[in-house]
Assembly symmetry: C2
Homo-oligomer: 285 residues x 2
């Protein structure tokens, strides 16, 4: 059993075999074969994905923003070195260019070796890979370049610490076109209400518009859920709750490489329904 700790609790997965364990310049990278969740990627002791439930996270974080705007063309992924988000963006035939900025090359290499179903995302010719610091990358990015930015970062400790601070969100907002959308990984509604509240208030100031919180069930994340913050820059208004670009109408040739396992338009709308305690605690009422 490998044990993953949160405050006051732990989740253990039965290990069949350890496949990879090395320290990169940024973190400890571990891959193991579990007995019931398939292969598992762990960074600094935190489960990033398992083959069994990665579909929920990758599909939601990609399609929540991309299905909310008509014909997304230029997309940036921050983090996402496993390639899963790229795989999902690839389903959108309107997309012409995908930049991805991942700081840790070892994550990419490990994914290509052990997670071909995710790393397949890198094979899309529309993908332009940048290995480096996202803040540095964004400093040189043309203003208003992107229709959508997806922040698929690890938890805000270690290399991802700056990614929940105001300057970073300001940089993201500048890189988006008017009416462009941001989807940012946003922790667990059961465990991290204070962090969520902070992120929401930063995003409200930065984006000067409504901020939406959505969530999905991911069994191997702490408390079994993960959240997403969605906001858009000033410009054509975006109705996140009613996807204007429904996945069911996208070009079938792109969609059927691998069937969608989790996301559909009903799940999209449902993701924005929030428990009463969360609405009260983070003032989303």
């Amino acid at each position: 059993m490998l044990k993953f700790f949160s405050v006051g609790e732990a989740h253990s997965l039965k290990v069949e075999s350890i496949l990879f364990k090395e320290k990169s310049d940024y973190q400890e990278v571990l891959v193991f074969e579990s007995s019931t969740y398939g292969k598992v990627l762990v960074l600094d002791g935190i489960v990033q994905l398992t083959e069994k439930d990665e579909c929920a996270y990758q599909e939601m974080i990609a399609h929540l923003p991309l299905c909310s705007i008509p014909s997304p063309k230029t997309v940036l992924v921050v983090g996402g070195g496993d390639g899963g988000v790229l795989r999902e963006i690839s389903r959108h035939s309107s997309v012409e260019h995908i930049d991805i900025c991942e700081i840790d090359k070892m994550v990419i290499d490990v994914s290509k070796k052990f997670f071909p179903e995710l790393a397949v995302g890198f094979e899309d010719p529309r993908v332009d890979l940048h290995v480096g610091d996202a803040i540095e990358f964004l400093r040189h990015a043309p203003k208003g370049k992107y229709d959508a930015i997806i922040v698929d970062s690890s938890d805000p400790v270690g290399p991802a610490q700056e990614l929940v601070e105001k300057p970073f969100f300001e940089t993201l907002a500048q890189a988006l076109r008017p009416g462009g959308v941001l989807c940012n990984m946003a922790e667990s509604m059961w465990l991290h209400t204070h962090l969520i509240e902070d992120m929401i208030s930063i995003c409200r100031e930065t984006f000067k518009g409504p901020v939406h919180y959505a969530w999905a069930s991911v069994p191997t994340y702490p408390s079994g859920v993960i959240g997403f913050l969605l906001c858009s820059t000033e410009g054509p208004p975006v109705d996140f709750l009613n996807p204007i670009n429904p996945i069911e109408k996208l070009d079938g040739a792109y969609l059927h490489k691998r069937e969608l396992r989790f996301y559909n338009s009903e799940m999209h709308r449902a993701a924005f329904a929030l428990p009463s305690f969360l609405k009260r605690e983070v003032r989303l009422l």
Copy 2:
């Protein structure tokens, strides 16, 4: 740490102190104070509830059926010895009579001692407690007596084994009035798709109408979710997806004893949105 095992995984909760541990006639009953989830009730090694997240389960299993019919009057709870479901039913001022049939008196006593916020449900004068076997109880129940039946059973091992078999569902259907509704605890969509498929096919045969699956996030249940089967007997059609009896319109005096923590009408509708894998695997497409 106390460790709760599922196949190939385990969830551990940090223990502050053990408050109660005894064998009843039916199962081992354990109560402990955890460090981050409040007090925890465990039956035969399976977490039944924690103070932190019980709101999700109790509110959803009670209000999904009761908000789907106009003015429910007579309700039966099978299991539910902790009283939490009763507490939630009590919010409905239309209800005149609540039968509850719990087999294990020790669960009731333990709840009254350690979980007053749940056991408060027993104080409602509309509640009629029957300690005994639900199948035996239903044999003597008048046909067509109930507007709604809520099956809040433990997992289908030990005393609850018969509660997922066809004869039991037939008995439930007979005890419901025409157009009456059943809400039955129905496991995890991530872990138990075969069991869910079996339950759905039994309910389709028995209730001769559509069967709906809904789910909620409950961090301390295996894979972080729990499901509910909803079906109705022949009679006035029931639209589970659009609650005719919305909780927001109920008598405030009943509602404000304790604010709803999880359930609201948006969460009700959202609960029926299902991941694509589940729709395919249990033929709900």
